[in-house]
Symmetry: C3
Subunit: 346 residues, 3 copies
């Protein structure tokens, strides 16, 4: 465990404690919300780091399973607490938001940072293109129940059934694709694990538990905070939850781009979005049966359209075979405009 | 004529006779429907095989015309009988369904089968990419009248006129593109014709006549069968008619993928979808003027959206330059979800 | 100044004078409209030519700025006069129409003409692909306020605010991308300037002034002429204004394709569409604050859908790496069908 690791752990601990203090004191909801969001972002990164270390231990074939299952823990916690509170819109927006935040915002930052450092970057890896293709296909599947409900009168009352069919198909696809593209992390020739197995398990356990607690506080503060800030719950899910729970973790993708390894950067970033679509989303759909609020895949129409457009944009941006700072800037601009249009609402 | 040919012909004859017996007896509509659908699928394949043999005879320049004109006979018959019965929705869904079934389902099966047999398959033929481009352009043209009617108030009452403009443009485009991309079948270095010209003409005539009869029985059973099965007519058109009338014929595309010739597989499969868009659809629009029910290109909105998404997906999947079983599985998953959303309805 | 230049100037002068005569006499509005449109098309070409000459003088770094600022003068004039008259729909349609006319119609003509002359043309320039990517991203940004207003209930009343956010983002992106892709005109190894600086400035001044006058007459004749012709104002903007103000100027792109330089042809044509999206549109949004009619980016829904589809089509057509006359013909067909669906209306 090196100095950077210790700093990360310390900072996450401080933020988590502060978030807890804010939750149990008279702090304003906005402060609780911000602290909890920041803590979750760091804990998500810690969980991501620890699962990677664990992945390095268990052998590359199991690593994919471990990383998929544990890497999305923080988002899973937020979603479960939010569903428990009946905040359906937040969860839906957060799931779609994870895909958009990774595919458009983080990819844009990676292109911008990589372009500023290295000039135009070329990539021609079939792996990156294939990941992008799978992403756009997953986006198409995920948006079909919404399109059917919004634009097809006879299907509209059956959104729930369609959602379960869709979630079932996604889970099957996850199982089918897991061996190939998720264990493909070995492409990023794993650094040898720096942490002992014991330490890894401890960090993972503590960070996971802290993420669970913090998620609870975050969700508790969410409704009052968004009211105070005149922010819609869609926006809170699409932007705040998605960035805190998933996107910050992907800072590693940006680092890869800066180190002039655009192929790996793209694979890491897009893969993360893909896991949300193929695993986290259907798991939550089925898990939600235990709650009063069923998570359907019938999103607000604009959410599904944004998902489709983002999926197509990811594919095109990857297929053109080069990235530069202009492309990165335009991707970030697209994210800003999409996010803005979700600002208003309940 | 080899053993396989004889087996195909025998099986088609048996099924056609069984479908006829079911039609003229007290068989349940569902049985008539299933038998007629199966017979049509085999007859369509037979017609396809015979037109190919004929194409080998008449020289490559005329082969394209012959194949386009005769290869779509079974779908043409079904569509004409259905229009005669006023089943507009079935015909619209069947036309769009042919494009989606070929571009998403059959392509997915080809990728899956090819991937299971040969691992990742690479293709880099400009011909395959160009066919995919033409496909997505045709899908954009074909969906414009629907988008205009659904989303543009002033255009809505003019869907009929727009449909005729659109059909006229499609026919011109068919004429313009025919010499180049349809006769391009010579890329699939034609096996020397195995059948004599006489035999070819006899098979074609008999299979065509049988397809006409069976289509009549199929359409007669369609409404009662779909009622019994609680299946919408949209679904019957999109899935059953499309697969029976067009997609089964494309088993040859899957075989090409298994034989590790992905470029040809893609060209054959996508070309088949393209012929439906550029030839069969506008011909039916104009032919429908002879019926009480005019075929317009103002589809149910979801049908046009599914067409657009499928067109884009075909293009991306072809452009990424490789296919594997995962991509195939996701394509099939997308088809399942799209088809499911059309299950409900009248 | 050679004979061709003189002919162009003479013809533009004659048409501008004729348009003025029609405006100030009892000519029918349709005649005024047609003459003014023709004059604007030629003046736009002249302004384009003169800014290119000026670009050659001022050094390649400033050339991009000059060309962007001055090359869109004629469209800017038309839009300002139309906004002044409250013709919001015409201006919106003209902006989107410039993108569609360049990306679909002019590109289609370039592919068709290039294909007829040179057979299949191959291109594999990252620059052309990158321009297409930026184009599709700009189209996605530009259509977001419309999608939000049409499909997201809470955002609908905030279309104005969203438009300003969107316009601000577009201007920032223009500033960011200007150094790289607009000055990239040096790729088209500038012919040495044929005109003296003085002559260039004179031509530019005169053509600009004439364009301003003619735009006034054009807008004055627009409403009565469209009424007489039973043409909607959307159509007038999307087709007539877009082609007169922007597309005719791009005849140079077609010439490049005929001269078998497809990469440059694509860059020139798509760049022109990009400038409209990144510069002219946001400038007009902010400039419209000076008028009674604010230009928002909340377009008629079909306009935004056509923009998105056209953007995607441009990207795919460029990414497939080859063009031929069939692809050109289908692009032109798509343009015809899209334009047709805007014919009806107020």
């Amino acid at each position: 465990m090196n100095r950077g690791d210790l700093r990360d752990i310390g900072l996450a601990a401080v933020l988590a404690v502060a978030a807890g203090a804010a939750h149990y004191s008279d702090a304003t909801p906005v402060l609780s919300f911000v602290l909890a969001a920041a803590a979750i972002a760091l804990l998500a990164r810690l969980v991501g780091g620890a699962t990677e270390q664990l992945g390095g231990r268990v052998g590359s074939s199991a690593a994919g399973v471990v990383q998929s299952a544990l890497g999305n823990l923080p988002e899973l916690f937020i979603a479960l607490f939010a569903l428990h509170k009946g905040l359906l819109g937040v969860v839906q927006a957060a799931l779609v938001g994870s895909v958009i935040a990774n595919g458009v915002l983080v990819l844009g930052i990676a292109f911008l940072a990589g372009g500023l450092r290295n000039g135009t970057q070329y990539f021609d890896s079939p792996r990156a293109r294939m990941t992008a293709t799978l992403m756009v296909l997953a986006a198409a599947i995920l948006s079909t129940p919404t399109l059917a409900s919004a634009f097809h009168t006879p299907a509209a009352p059956h959104g729930r059934t369609l959602s379960f069919i869709c979630a079932g198909v996604l889970l099957v696809l996850f199982a089918v694709t897991l061996p190939s593209f998720l264990s493909g992390g070995d492409g990023i020739e794993g650094e040898p694990p720096r942490w002992s197995l014991r330490l890894t398990v401890i960090v993972l356990g503590c960070a996971g538990a802290a993420a669970a607690l913090t998620s609870d506080w975050f969700v508790a503060a969410l409704t009052p905070a968004t009211h105070t800030l005149h922010m819609s719950q869609d926006f809170a899910g699409l932007v705040i939850v998605a960035i805190a729970g998933n996107a910050v973790e992907n800072v590693v993708g940006v680092q890869l781009a800066v180190r002039n390894r655009p192929d790996f950067a793209i694979s890491v970033i897009v893969n993360s979005a893909l896991q949300v679509a193929l695993l986290l989303t259907p798991v939550l759909v089925f898990a939600s049966l235990a709650f009063n609020t069923t998570l359907t895949l019938v999103f607000p129409t604009l959410l599904a359209l944004a998902l489709l457009i983002s999926g197509a944009v990811v594919a095109l941006v990857v297929y053109d075979g080069e990235s530069n700072k202009e492309e990165g800037a335009i991707l970030i601009g697209l994210y800003v405009v999409i996010a803005s249009s979700f600002w208003w609402g309940a």
